[in-house]
């Protein structure tokens, strides 16, 4: 029995039967990390003390025949933009090197309450800004399917960890596609709930109106189990929604026959790789075989999404990242004689190139004389993009698209051209702007052996239907890796 290949349900069964202990599960994962991570580079920090203390607590409860919580003994990796008390949290940035947060993010707290073992913190693009994990201030992460290629980003470490059995599940964050795109590139399930579904408390802010925390897993059922644990109102995040959380696992087996699926034609235009298109079209045909009604729909403003996104996200980022000034936490540049010089040197030296570029872009878009032309304009187009979704959901239950226009690209391929990198998010940013939930699920491999992701969207707070469709697709067979 390979302990690193188990699903959550499989692991729970073994634990309850007493055929394995949480301690053994943790040991097996740290051993695999020791063997594989020198190649994959998924983790920035490991937290074995924390994981083993929790494993011990789980094993005690199992032995005492106490009620075992739903994620008991499940090894989870956490993206390094999500704070963990006492465990270094850098957001992939040198400016937060050695930062040990004094509190846990709500999502982390809830995972541990549900019995999960936090194995460590995963690599990401600095402050979640990027689509390849090459913008990490530490090192790039590699795609386990081809080590010469990127895992996607910005949650590349979490995606790679789950794909390579270095964790059973992981938390990531999605602002423009940072869960779904790397999930697609690495051949795992990546889920972003509705904006407000999961508390952002303890998520290091990039663009507050777009940021989400969500799970990675190897099956839809496992992703649903993690969402179940972390979803729901949190008084510490005023934007977390007071909307009841249904029992997601109970809806998974519901038949999908008769559900209406929309295929937005704008997601199949120029720029879509031919092999990715073929795979996704096969996936859509499968939904038809499952009894779904498939029809073409239009989201007419899709072509404006990247421009809208990169104005709004960078404007919010320029404001959110003002706090890294060498005063309350993180690094301070030595030798500055005045406060102003200290700010400038600390930030100029502590941030990487992409973060500086986005701060500059956002500051420019908000500056006097440009605010209306850029920021206000983008906010208006955001309304139009959201209306596209709302109108589509008057006709269909869900939308089905490719997750990304291409498969995983090679390291270094897009680093010289920021705009080319931005376009990797072309099919995912729309969901963040509209605030609707989205999921990327494996949809087979190309001839070169690279995973293809299929993306589904549903209406606000309809994660149940999203998971139901994704699960039916996965169970129908032939597409998982």
């Amino acid at each position: 029995m390979e302990l690193t290949k188990l699903t959550i349900a499989g692991l729970q069964e073994q634990l309850r039967a007493g055929s394995v202990t949480a301690r053994q599960v943790a040991e097996a994962h740290f051993e695999r990390i020791r063997q594989r991570d020198p190649e994959v580079h998924a983790y920035l920090t490991l937290s074995p003390e924390r994981a083993f203390a929790q494993a011990e607590a789980v094993d005690r409860r199992v032995k005492a025949k106490e009620l075992v919580p739903p994620l008991a003994g499940v090894p989870v990796a956490v993206k390094d933009v999500i704070v963990t008390r006492g465990t270094p949290t850098t957001a992939g940035s040198r400016i937060l090197e050695n930062y040990r947060p004094p509190y846990d993010a709500t999502a982390v707290e809830r995972l541990e309450q549900a019995g999960a073992l936090i194995l460590g913190k995963t690599n990401c693009d600095e402050f979640a800004m990027g689509s390849s994990t090459e913008n990490s201030g530490y090192f790039p992460t590699r795609n386990p399917h081809d080590l010469e290629r990127v895992p996607g980003g910005s949650s590349g470490g979490s995606a790679a960890a789950v794909a390579d059995n270095l964790a059973v599940a992981a938390l990531g964050s999605d602002t423009g596609g940072s869960i779904r795109q790397p999930a697609g590139f690495c051949g795992v399930v990546g889920l972003m709930g509705t904006y407000g579904r999961v508390s952002r408390y303890g998520l290091i802010a990039f663009a507050s109106s777009l940021d989400h925390i969500g799970p990675f897993a190897r099956t839809v059922r496992d992703a649903a189990a993690v969402l179940q644990a972390i979803a729901g109102r949190d008084p510490r995040d005023s934007t977390s929604a007071d909307v009841p959380v249904p029992d997601y696992r109970a809806v998974l087996e519901k038949p999908v026959k008769g559900l209406k699926l929309g295929v937005p034609k704008e997601y199949f235009g120029a720029g879509l790789d031919a092999e990715v298109r073929t795979k996704v079209e096969k996936g859509i045909a499968r939904f038809r075989e499952l009894g779904c009604e498939v029809r073409e729909v239009s989201l007419p403003h899709t072509d404006y999404a990247i421009a809208t996104y990169y104005i709004i996200a960078t404007a919010e980022a320029s404001s959110n990242l003002a706090r890294y000034d060498g005063v309350r936490y993180g690094r301070r540049a030595p030798g500055a004689e005045t406060l102003e010089a200290m700010y400038q040197k600390t930030r100029g030296g502590g941030f990487g190139a992409e973060v500086k570029r986005r701060i500059m872009l956002g500051t420019y878009a908000l500056s006097s004389g440009y605010y209306e032309a850029y920021y206000l304009k983008a906010q208006k187009v955001r309304t139009l993009l959201t209306q596209d979704f709302v109108k589509a959901f008057e006709q269909v239950d869900a939308l089905v698209t490719p997750t990304s226009p291409t498969c995983a690209f090679k390291l270094g391929e897009k680093t010289a051209d920021p705009l080319a990198m931005y376009l990797a998010d072309i099919y995912t940013v729309t969901g963040d702007l509209a605030g609707v939930p989205g999921i990327s699920i494996p949809c087979g491999k190309t001839k070169a052996g690279l995973p293809v992701g299929l993306q589904l969207f549903t209406h606000h707070f309809d994660e149940a239907r999203l998971l139901q469709l994704a699960h039916a697709f996965e169970m129908s067979g032939g597409f998982t890796l």
């Binding site: 509190y103 104005i311 301070r332 102003e340 500086k356 500051t363 983008a378 955001r382």
Partner: protein, 102 residues
């Protein structure tokens, strides 16, 4: 050749607003890259948005009633925990280089 959308002086001005020290070669590269990105963003001007309301966040769209919370106080971090991560601190303050000239 078309004029750049953003001048070197603009870049220096915005860098000062953002408290970012940029090396001379960084300023040059930044000007080129911001110019190409801002040019791409011009495509938004193809859309007539005169009658469209701006959207600040998605929650207002999906759950307009869910945006507000009670205005109640709650405990924050204890001071030692809050100061522990500061690069320089002396209870009960963080220390910074001098602000006021002699």
């Amino acid at each position: 050749m078309r004029a750049m959308k953003i001048t070197r002086k603009d870049v220096e001005y915005v860098a000062a607003l953002a408290h970012l020290e940029l090396a001379p070669q960084e300023i040059e590269r930044m000007q080129q890259q911001l110019d190409s990105i801002l040019t791409y963003m011009d495509k938004l001007n193809e859309l007539d948005t005169a009658k469209v309301e701006p959207m600040a966040q998605a929650l207002a769209e999906s759950r307009p009633e869910a945006v507000w919370r009670e205005d109640a106080t709650r405990a924050g971090l204890e001071r030692p925990a809050a100061l522990a991560a500061a690069p320089e601190a002396k209870e009960p303050f963080v220390k910074v280089p001098k602000v006021i000239e002699k």
